[in-house]
């Protein structure tokens, strides 16, 4: 197995404390369609520890964003949370009423949205958009104090103070994304969900935004869920990686082990498909097709594309089990070992 990005990983990075800030248990999110429910997220369980960044990767449509939106209870209709618990500080977000939910949003969990281009209200100044998040949760603030607070947030993400008075259309994509980061940390949340924060940006700006995220995390000790396809960015930023396939979590491991020795056949294919500068190789991931998400086959979710598929995979669902320290995988190949 090639280790394309392992050299970029800094093994000395502190991997957070053992304090759990987010516990997701048996989360199921289905989208209603005329021909049955699409199981976008099916029985996903994981936890985020204090001060760590967990990457959530997988192909388009595998349920990454839906998982993130479910944590904020922002799944848009026709989607709905069918089952599961989302615990933040022992509070189950899935059970909160609307008022309690509003109070926990942004104070405990904030969002760096996918596509910052359109995530800012075009007719409000940046200061008002950051300010309304602060004032909604902390009440009316003295003008000067609020201004200084917003300015310091902007400088935290490396934006000049003139951004304070600007409108979104006066900013570049990277600046908008950093405004979103500043907004996300405005209330010192326990957890920040960054949904593909760099996907709409060019590579240079991607790096700047990535560094900003890392800097924010190191300074504030905030926990993060980083969603994306960019394995290079993941290698640079995250402590642990969760790999999703067709609504299921198939592997969860610290980033170094995962890149060095991916266990799940899907993860192996995923890492193998990272283009290498040194050699040309065919893209392997196109082999096989994903099953119909409305009607998953019995047994393992990856059986239709898996090169190691056995009869057991076609009947028994492999649970996500810890097969080595800080290594969880949902695959029959590893349970006996």
């Amino acid at each position: 197995m090639s280790v394309n990005f392992a050299h970029e990983i800094d093994e000395r990075r502190p991997a957070g404390t053992d304090q759990v800030v987010l516990q997701v248990e048996g989360l199921k999110v289905y989208y209603a369609t005329p021909t049955g429910d699409v199981r976008a997220v099916d029985d996903v369980t994981f936890q985020i520890r204090e001060g760590e960044i967990v990457g959530l990767v997988g192909e388009s449509g595998c349920g990454k964003t839906t998982t993130a939106m479910a944590i904020l209870r922002l799944v848009q209709s026709p989607g709905r949370i069918v089952d599961g618990r989302i615990l933040v500080d022992d509070v189950d977000i899935a059970r909160l009423n609307e008022r309690e939910l509003r109070q926990i949003r942004w104070t405990k969990i904030s969002l760096i949205p996918q596509g910052a281009m359109n995530s800012l209200n075009p007719v409000m100044r940046i200061k008002d958009q950051i300010g309304d998040a602060i004032e909604t949760h902390e009440g009316r603030q003295p003008r000067q104090a609020l201004k200084e607070r917003i300015l310091s947030l902007l400088s935290t993400v490396g934006l000049p103070s003139r951004v304070y008075k600007m409108y979104p259309h006066e900013l570049s994509g990277g600046m908008k994304q950093r405004v979103c980061i500043a907004m996300a940390i405005a209330l010192n949340p326990t957890l920040v969900i960054a949904d593909e924060p760099t996907s709409a940006l060019d590579v240079v700006v991607q790096r700047v935004v990535g560094e900003t995220l890392l800097d924010v995390k190191n300074r504030l000790g905030v926990s993060m869920i980083l969603i994306g396809h960019d394995m290079g960015l993941m290698a640079q930023l995250v402590d642990r990686i969760a790999v999703m396939y067709a609504g299921h979590l198939v592997e969860l491991a610290d980033v170094y082990s995962l890149f060095r020795e991916p266990l799940h056949p899907y993860t192996q294919l995923l890492i193998d498909s990272i283009p290498s500068i040194k050699e040309r190789k065919p893209l392997k991931l196109t082999e096989g097709i994903t099953h119909d998400l409305r009607n998953p086959p019995p047994g393992c979710i990856f059986q239709l594309r898996c090169p190691h598929v056995t009869d057991k995979c076609r009947t028994v669902v492999p649970p996500l089990l810890e097969v080595a320290p800080s290594r969880e995988v949902a695959c029959h190949l590893y349970y006996d070992a």
Partner: protein
């Protein structure tokens, strides 16, 4: 004054002047393309009334000179433009000694009042109804009820006007059927007069508002629903903002922008369409005057009124144009 830059204001002012010049030129040219001329038409009408008029040829020549119709076209045009700039519109052909500008200026306040009140009310009510129809948090029974308020949209407003007159003025006798104020009242800032003006205004305003607000409501509803999918709406919800704030500052605030543009576009039609309403209610405004002008083939009167309509519409569009960058900071940057 967010995006209101000097270049933007200058450009809009330029467009304003260009529109008026073009409009004035067109209403100068059009009557001259038609066969015959107003003086001959008037004299022939007088002839028809009196049976025979002596020296009709000389009368025509004298009047032509009097109205400045004997010079070359460009001299006429320059004189015409000078007169228009000073709002000197000459004499009415049908009621000769009265001047067109005097007739217009006594009618103008009524039309401006009627149209501005009914347009603003219709815009506000329609957009409020539309926004509530499109907002998913509004209780279902309200959303089911709202469309019934729009059923009158399919009725032409002059038909509704007749219906309203029959119901409220003739059957119930709650409101006066015609005119702008009661007989025997002296116009001025006194309460009986103002009260009478309001009473006389209710039916015409109502007939315009009720029939036109559906247009705004449907547009607004569509905008609000489209807006729901915008990323900033989802982020606003993620921020835990109060629903009222998300609705007003994020939803309505963004949805109103195309509505204001549509308002600017529809102003010309509103001014023209008021003629029938004023006619039905015998409201002494510009529309009623225009109707009289057309019936009496009073060219100078028609010319003056059409020019004032162009001027009024262009002014309203200018005001909206200057308002738009304040509402939407992106506008003045667009070329």
């Amino acid at each position: 004054m967010a995006g209101l830059t000097p270049q933007y204001v200058l450009r809009r002012l330029g467009m304003f002047l260009l529109t008026i010049w073009l409009g004035a030129t067109i209403i100068f040219i059009i009557p001259r393309l038609a066969p015959g001329d107003p003086v001959a038409a008037m004299v022939s009408r007088l002839t028809a009334q009196a049976g025979y008029i002596e020296n009709s040829a000389e009368i025509i020549a004298a009047w032509r000179e009097r109205f400045g119709l004997d010079g070359p076209l460009w001299v006429q045009y320059l004189a015409y433009m000078r007169n228009m700039l000073t709002l000197d519109m000459g004499y009415s052909l049908s009621s000769f000694p009265s001047r067109v500008d005097e007739m217009i200026f006594s009618a103008l306040p009524w039309t401006v009042g009627l149209l501005s009140v009914s347009t603003i009310l219709s815009f506000l009510a329609g957009n409020a109804i539309g926004a509530l129809m499109g907002w998913p948090r509004v209780p279902r029974w309200i959303r089911a009820l709202l469309p019934t308020s729009l059923t009158f949209t399919s009725i032409p407003f002059f038909m509704l006007g007749i219906l309203l007159v029959y119901l409220f003025a003739y059957e119930l006798r709650w409101l006066p059927p015609t005119g702008a104020y009661g007989r025997g009242l002296t116009p001025g800032w006194n309460w009986p007069f103002i009260k009478s003006v309001i009473e006389h205004g209710i039916l015409p305003v109502l007939s315009i508002v009720v029939t036109s607000m559906g247009f705004w409501a449907l547009g607004m509803r569509g905008m609000i629903i489209t807006n729901q999918g915008e990323d900033y709406m989802i982020l606003a919800e993620a921020k835990g903002l109060r629903p009222s704030r998300i609705f007003l500052r994020y939803g309505v605030r963004n949805s109103i922008l195309p509505q204001v543009t549509a308002l600017a576009l529809s102003l010309g039609g509103i001014a023209g369409g008021s003629t029938l309403v004023e006619y039905i209610f015998a409201y002494p405004g510009m529309g009623y005057l225009l109707y009289q002008g057309i019936v009496n083939t009073d060219y100078t009167l028609i010319q003056g009124i059409v020019f004032m309509l162009i001027l009024g519409t262009a002014t309203a569009v200018l005001i909206l144009d200057l308002l738009l960058p304040v509402l939407d900071p992106r506008i003045s940057y667009e070329r």
